[in-house]
């Protein structure tokens, strides 16, 4: 018996050793991407990339954007990844200030607004995500659905609103920040914004752990109203046949910029740059717009090639993102300790 056990252990160790040899990097054109964009999009783009560059060995690790940040921090002494594709610009700015990202000027530097990129070229915007008010379209008619932020805190929606837990979510942080900023920009104090969040809290049925649960609960009518981003809501409606509709808030909505960046100390920078350029060509952006509902940031595209809904006009809510980033954590902490679940 003990011999058997011994051989079993040996066999397992041997297999593992073989495995670890296999995964060793010998390939010059290797590229490792960290991304929250989902495996379907990644596999698709890697296949397209390989048609053009057959010698490339592209791999990706898919995880949430906050998890990417955490990983890049952990690996700062020995960077593993080359490219970080996907996260809100606030997360990228945080990483940039922690000196985790490499400066790189893509060929289309001047084709996007200056606000959609880092002034020091450490990250560039690829897609933009406007935030919307979404509702269960089987239970709520278009006429009665809320059309602006203040409609959501109407007492008639008491216990009907679902909100994703804002702590780990860039989307929700941006929305909460925007709600406070609406008043802060006039009063210089977050108090009125807190009051708004208190009224929202009174209407909230549940702060869900993640976006998937949020949409599931909305579909199952545990709640009827939520705040979420436009591309996702559209994707659920059209690709997953979800009973969901949305309105862009009439008074204006925050638009998050989703970006791309090369990791400082990346082992395969040349390949990373090539892939960076590849996924941001007009062709790639139009393709992603149609197939994955990503709204491109580049302003030089032929808008008629984009899906019609991307060309519908909406009002933007201008925000001081730096102030939001600086004060956001303190605001969120106040919300977490003094507002959440107390109204």
């Amino acid at each position: 018996m003990r011999l058997k056990l011994f051989w079993l252990a040996c066999a397992i160790l041997a297999i593992a050793l073989l495995l670890s040899c296999n995964s060793g990097s010998g390939n010059k054109n290797r590229l490792l991407i960290y991304t929250p964009h989902g495996q379907d999009l990644l596999k698709d783009f890697i296949a397209r990339y390989k048609q053009q560059y057959p010698d490339a060995d592209v791999q990706f690790l898919d995880m949430g954007s906050r998890e990417v940040l955490e990983r890049v921090r952990v690996e700062r002494n020995r960077p593993q990844a080359d490219l970080w594709w996907g996260a809100s610009h606030t997360t990228f700015q945080t990483a940039a200030e922690e000196n985790l990202l490499l400066e790189f000027r893509p060929s289309w530097t001047d084709k996007i607004p200056a606000s959609s990129r880092d002034a020091n070229d450490r990250w560039y915007g690829t897609y933009e995500t406007p935030q919307v008010i979404a509702y269960n379209s089987e239970e709520v008619s278009e006429a009665e659905a809320p059309r602006d932020w203040d409609d959501v805190i109407d007492p008639k929606w008491r216990d009907k609103v679902l909100i994703r837990n804002p702590n780990p979510s860039d989307t929700m942080r941006a929305i909460f920040g925007a709600m406070i900023w609406r008043f802060y920009k006039d009063t210089g104090s977050p108090d009125k914004g807190y009051d708004w969040l208190r009224k929202l809290d009174a209407n909230v049925r549940e702060y869900t752990a993640d976006g998937t649960l949020l949409m599931q609960k909305l579909g199952r009518r545990e709640g009827l109203i939520t705040l979420w981003d436009m591309p996702d809501v559209r994707l659920f409606k059209e690709q997953k046949n979800f009973p969901v509709g949305y309105f862009v808030p009439a008074s204006g909505t925050p638009v998050i910029i989703d970006g791309i960046a090369i990791i400082r100390g990346a082992p395969n920078q040349e390949e990373a740059k090539r892939f960076y350029e590849f996924v941001t060509t007009p062709e790639s952006l139009v393709y992603a717009a149609h197939k994955y509902y990503r709204i491109p940031v580049r302003t030089d595209l032929d808008r008629s090639q984009l899906p019609a809904w991307m060309n519908e006009p909406f009002t933007r809510l201008p925000l001081d993102w730096d102030l939001l980033r600086k004060n956001g954590s303190e605001w969120l902490r106040y919300w977490d300790t003094e507002i959440r679940g107390r109204n």
Binding site: L13, S20, L61, E67, R71
Partner: protein, 563 residues
């Protein structure tokens, strides 16, 4: 000649040195060195040594609330798990009735539910729009769902469901080692059944029960998914740590982590002290374990079977739900009680994906490496702890348990920090970015399970048996393989299996350190969940459950091989 001097004669010093060396190397490289920086960070502010972090953390009432909630939740979990797990172990170990073996196998079912898909299954089953709530709502024509899966009841339900196997498995293993002749002797001396249970059986079981209570307590303290998914407004320490991290307040997160670890290790000290007062003179095991009583009386037989069947249904429901989700068409199951539309698409997606078979292979290999290494190492530590009644003994038991007392994220981050670049430690090596980082993290996180299970078995073992073998001329190796090993084998296999199964579904640490060459199942499940492919995630879960069930059957065979 007293036993101490006997030991000194029997045990060659070099053997102790080797054991000490192996124990020390793993503890220094795996536990002390990586976690030292965590401890140091919590005591520093702007480069200076200070207690200000602790003062700040402990002066916030939300943190105090979180500490109290975590403690309350853990104590409640331990009690509920004991109430469910111990009687079940007695029922299945002591009695035989129709279907016993099937139900005994089912009782370990919660172990096979990885936390990621486990929470999803719970939400689909017990959630306010889940099968049960919907069914009752439709049946009674209620306007609102009859309950909501939130807050304390939800937490305790999920914790009890997922953690009672600690009690069930360890008590079961303990019962198998109990000397039946002692109980018989007590009965023949006129002791009543309850007296025998209280004075003879329970004292012999104490090490197993304490080990289970400690594991449950610590698991519950470090539990993260359950409070995140259905804690509602209940604040627990792990969530506070997570929130602080997300806010970018790393120092506060680290300080709170140390507080969490201190509470968990405090529990260890408490349990050890209690254990000391309940030490019993272990009896010589004559290799005659108690036979299972056949429940002959008709009523009792029916009752035992009914209890077992009801229990089995409750246990199977979440897994059955997972099956159901894996066959439901995406987006079709919203307000119906059961899915209206079934499909094989989720499995087709899984089997068409070349990545899928790879992740199963990766997880299986890495968990097996970690579990086998933990088993081998546990023998070193436990033998070492038994022999050397020295001052550092307590310290070593504490050190062994530190990785279990810490949240998984912290273990991964500290290992990655320590082995992220060639360090100052002698013979330091780089793990970040290699295949080996995950087996190492799995080993560190889950070896306390094996060590505790083995320690519990060893403490039930009568040392005079080994001494007798020694005096009959058996060498150390012979004593080990012919006397000790057969007696502790069930406990060792049970602990190793636990570690293996839990490692298979590990997520929170994996996500921070996995590489393309070792992408584990949990990452694949999380990807599917993020893309709202609930059915595909469930399909992964179902395949994982099948793999785990097969492993358990193999382990069952291994366990019987020895006894």
């Amino acid at each position: 000649m007293n036993t101490d001097s006997l030991r000194q004669i029997r045990f060659y010093p070099w053997r102790s040195v080797v054991l000490f060396f192996i124990t020390a190397v793993v503890l220094v490289y795996g536990v002390i060195y990586p976690n030292l920086s965590v401890l140091i960070t919590s005591f520093q502010r702007a480069g200076a040594w200070t207690l200000v972090n602790y003062r700040e953390v402990l002066s916030q009432w939300v943190v105090i609330e979180a500490i109290v909630s975590s403690l309350g939740l853990s104590v409640g979990t331990v009690l509920l798990c004991a109430i469910v797990g111990v009687p079940l172990a007695f029922l299945f170990e002591r009695f035989t009735f129709p279907g016993r073996r099937l139900f005994a196998a089912l009782a370990t079912l919660p172990l096979v539910l990885p936390p990621l898909v486990g929470t999803v299954a719970f939400i689909f089953l017990f959630g306010e729009s889940g099968i049960l709530a919907h069914g009752i709502q439709n049946f009674l024509a209620l306007e609102n769902p009859p309950w909501r899966l939130r807050g304390w009841p939800a937490l305790l339900l999920f914790h009890t469901y997922t953690m009672y196997p600690f009690f069930y498995v360890l008590t079961g293993a303990g019962l198998r080692r109990i000397d039946a002749s002692l109980a018989e002797a007590a009965r023949s001396l006129g002791a009543s059944k309850t007296v025998v249970l209280r004075r003879v059986v329970l004292p012999q079981l104490t090490p197993s029960l304490l080990a289970a209570a400690l594991l449950t307590f610590m698991t519950s303290m470090a539990s993260f998914s359950a409070p995140l998914f259905f804690g509602g407004d209940v604040r627990v320490l792990t969530l506070e740590i997570f929130t602080a991290r997300q806010r970018g307040d790393a120092v506060m997160a680290v300080t709170e982590t140390v507080v969490l670890a201190i509470i968990s290790l405090g529990a260890l000290v408490f349990f050890q002290r209690y254990e000391g007062t309940r030490k019993f003179a272990a009896a010589a095991m004559k290799g005659a374990p108690r036979r299972r009583a056949i429940i002959a009386s008709g009523k009792a037989r029916v009752l035992a079977t009914v209890v077992a069947v009801i229990f089995a249904i409750v246990l199977v429901l979440p897994v059955a739900t997972l099956f159901l989700v894996s066959f439901a068409r995406e987006g079709s199951w919203t307000t119906q009680t059961l899915p209206s539309d079934y499909t094989l698409a989720n499995y087709q997606r899984l089997f068409a994906d070349p990545f899928a078979s790879e992740v199963f292979f990766n997880s299986f290999t890495m968990s097996a490496i970690a579990a086998v290494a933990a088993l081998l190492w546990s023998f070193c530590v436990v033998t070492f702890l038994r022999r050397r009644r020295f001052v550092g003994r307590r310290l070593v038991s504490l050190l062994v348990l530190i990785p279990w007392a810490l949240p998984g994220t912290v273990v991964a981050v500290s290992v990655a920090d320590a082995y992220g670049s060639p360090g100052s430690l002698l013979g330091s090596f780089v793990l970040v970015g290699t295949f080996w980082i995950l087996p190492v993290v799995y080993f560190l996180r889950f070896m306390p399970l094996v060590v505790r299970a083995l320690q519990a078995s060893m403490e039930q073992l009568d040392p005079t048996l080994e001494e007798a073998a020694g005096s009959l001329g058996a060498r150390a190796w012979q004593r080990f393989t012919r006397v000790t090993l057969p007696l502790v084998w069930p406990g060792a296999v049970a602990g190793t299996l636990l570690a293996f199964v839990i490692a298979l579904g590990e997520y929170v640490a994996s996500v921070l350190v996995f590489v393309p060459g070792n992408r584990p199942i949990s990452i694949a499940i999380a990807s599917e969940l993020r893309d709202f492919n609930l059915g595909a995630a469930a399909a992964y879960g179902v395949v994982l459950i099948v793999i785990i069930s097969i492993s358990m059957m193999v382990a069952g065979k291994l366990e019987r091989l020895r006894s």
